[in-house]
Amino acid sequence: MKILVGVKRVLDYNVKARVNADKTGIELANVKMSMNPFDEIAVEEALRIKEAGNAEEVIAVSIGPSQSQETIRTALAMGADRGILIETDELLEPLAIAKLLKHLVEKEEPGLIVLGKQAIDGDNNQTGQMLSALTGMAQATFASKVEFEGDTLKVTREVDAGLESIKVKMPAVLTTDLRLNEPRYAKLPNIMKAKKKPLETIAVADTGVDVSSKLTVVEVNEPEQRKAGVIVSDVAELVEKLRNEAKVI
């Protein structure tokens, strides 16, 4: 079985995000970029599945500019076998990403697709679900535990009410939550080997997929700065402020 794992190049989680000058998005020029942390968890899970003998090959896939090759190399250094980059300089929406992934699914026929539940830049949390719908595969989202039972996956999901256990038949789409695993550090010899692993690049145009935008971004703004607190003299004043200023009671 092959596993397809998605890795997105995003603003490094340590970098403080700033809105760009024309308020169309986040400033990305000359800032540190890294693999989306949820995708690191996805790579780790795919590798563990392979190491447990339940898969033969892990393919790391990214959709983005040519620099996304670095993100794929990081996945290869962690242990993925080969990489595919669908190259585009445009910022694609989740639906376009899901369609491009479907294109790869048809080509590679993986038994399992592992994606981060969301990327920390757009926080969309849509791609996995859309891919499942487009391919007709089962979906197991927000996974915090994954167990193999033949061609069935038993997945523990983190939901609002607690933990939900479900079984899905493969092929399936799995999206990872934060507590699924702790991603490994790449070993030095593997960093060096990663350079020699195959990395295929495909132009978006060659996929024949319609990636046109369905949304218009009106404006991006930074969240309002937190204001300084005030000390109230008694409970009556507190109640008064909560009622009339904050309007929460």
């Binding site: 540190k32 550090y185 790449a186 030095l188 960093i191």
Partner: protein
Amino acid sequence: MSYNAPVRDIAFMLNNVVGLSNVAKLEGFEEATEEMSVAILEESARFTSEVLAPLNASGDAEGATWSEEGVKTAAGWVEAYAQFVENGWGALSFPVAYGGQGLPMCLSSAVQEMWHSSNMSFGLCPLLTQGAVDALAHHASDELKDTYLPKMVEGTWTGTMNLTEPQAGTDLAAIRSKAEPEGDHYLITGQKIYITYGDHDMSENIVHLVLAKLPDAPEGVKGISLFVVPKFLVNDDGSLGDRNDVRCVSIEHKLGIHASPTCVMSYGDNGGAIGYLVGKPHHGLMYMFTMMNQARHAVGVQGYGIAERSYQQALAYANDRKQGPTLLGGNDSEGIINHPDVRRMLMTMRSSIEAMRGLALECAAAFDVAAKHPDESVREASQRRGELLTPLVKGWSTELGVELCSLGVQIHGGMGFIEETGAAQHLRDARIAPIYEGTTAIQANDLIGRKTARDGGKGLGELMADMKQVLNELKASDDVNVKAVAARFEPAIAAAESANEWLLGQNDPTQPSATSVEFLMMHGRLAGGWIMARTALAAIKAKQEPDADEAYLDAKTLLARYYAERMLPLVESGKTIVVDSADSTVGLDIAQL
């Protein structure tokens, strides 16, 4: 306090200033491309900041502990070292034949900075192993190499250097440890002190390299031999056998590096520790110097590595701490970073760290060229350059490292003097670096004697010529910061040349000896200026590229200018001290002191 490895600054210095691509052209170093260097530095940054840095303060507070059973490292160290080994970090620059990655020294030095910034006490263990591997790889028999190197390269066995004895520190001729031949091995007896990681619980075995004298040894340093003495004897099949007759009898209570056990080692309490001769009899000191040069360079890296950590902490505090209105910030809500004098301290730290980093990488790259270049004359010249720069890297960078860590405390004000803040630990840790692996005076002596007087100033002359070439490039620029660098660089070179001339003309060794440390510091500052001048030129060149980060590159040229304006005038005053202060230095009778 967290650590954020300055990957971008390190990569810029390595690739744009020192020129890793020239090293990567050499046969055997092809893997060391710019892209590969960044991938390695980034993963090293993750590992050191997430695994090693969090153990720095706790290791300092807990320290290593001694008992009859052996030395225990602080909580979390065994696990961190296991992870270090598993991820292959120790094997970076070791020979491929023994399981290493065979990467150049300049790249491995760039990585090692992060070990020492994140956790200097931890970094010492692989530093010593590296020295031991180098000594064995160069001088031991194939049999010894096959037995010990693979495990040491892997890191599952660590190495130590056993030179010092209570009566024999700088004067190694005075050592008393003995080696008696017995069959295919020797029986070692004696006591060694200041043995870093002489015992600990992080590795399966510890391989001691020990200086001792054979029964027929001639007097003096020519009578010293080098032996391998393992903690556990190694069976023919490579498995571990009996415990050898060597043990740690106590560990020292120190000013800093508390988590690194500094051991008193006793050999042969029960008849003699089994040891194996490395190379030929009586050549031990020469072999040890192979290890020593490497170790001295590595200690120089510690000098600025620890200063980088101190800088990061001071910078964060200066941004955070508010104390009324400031001249640069205006109102009360701005941090003390807006005081011009706090800027002075931060700029001194930042620019000096970059200069020291560049010099250490330049020195390492020279050794890389010396090791692999096809042309013998290039190899020789590069070896000469590497050896010339080594005492500067060790002596200047460690002395300056202490000064910078002191500034790091100063920026914190009273809070810096409080241990809980963590700024003081860096200063305490930094203080050993100008002492071990040869004090600053020893480095200065090496610089004026072996590295200058011995070749009639050839190596130093070549360096001055290279500097003048950079000066010409500076003069051709119309950038205002570069012009300012040139204005200070030119008189500094002239001052250094005049000091060199003075040194080579001295017949009485007392005169240069009395001012040798100033001579070393003067050349360190000048070499730092050379690096910063090249950094400014590299930044201006990089600005021509599409999508260049102008703010980042402009900062580089301004740091170079600050360095030139603040540090290079000290080269001129240094020259005055060098040529004209010896008489007063040694003028008093001892009774008058």
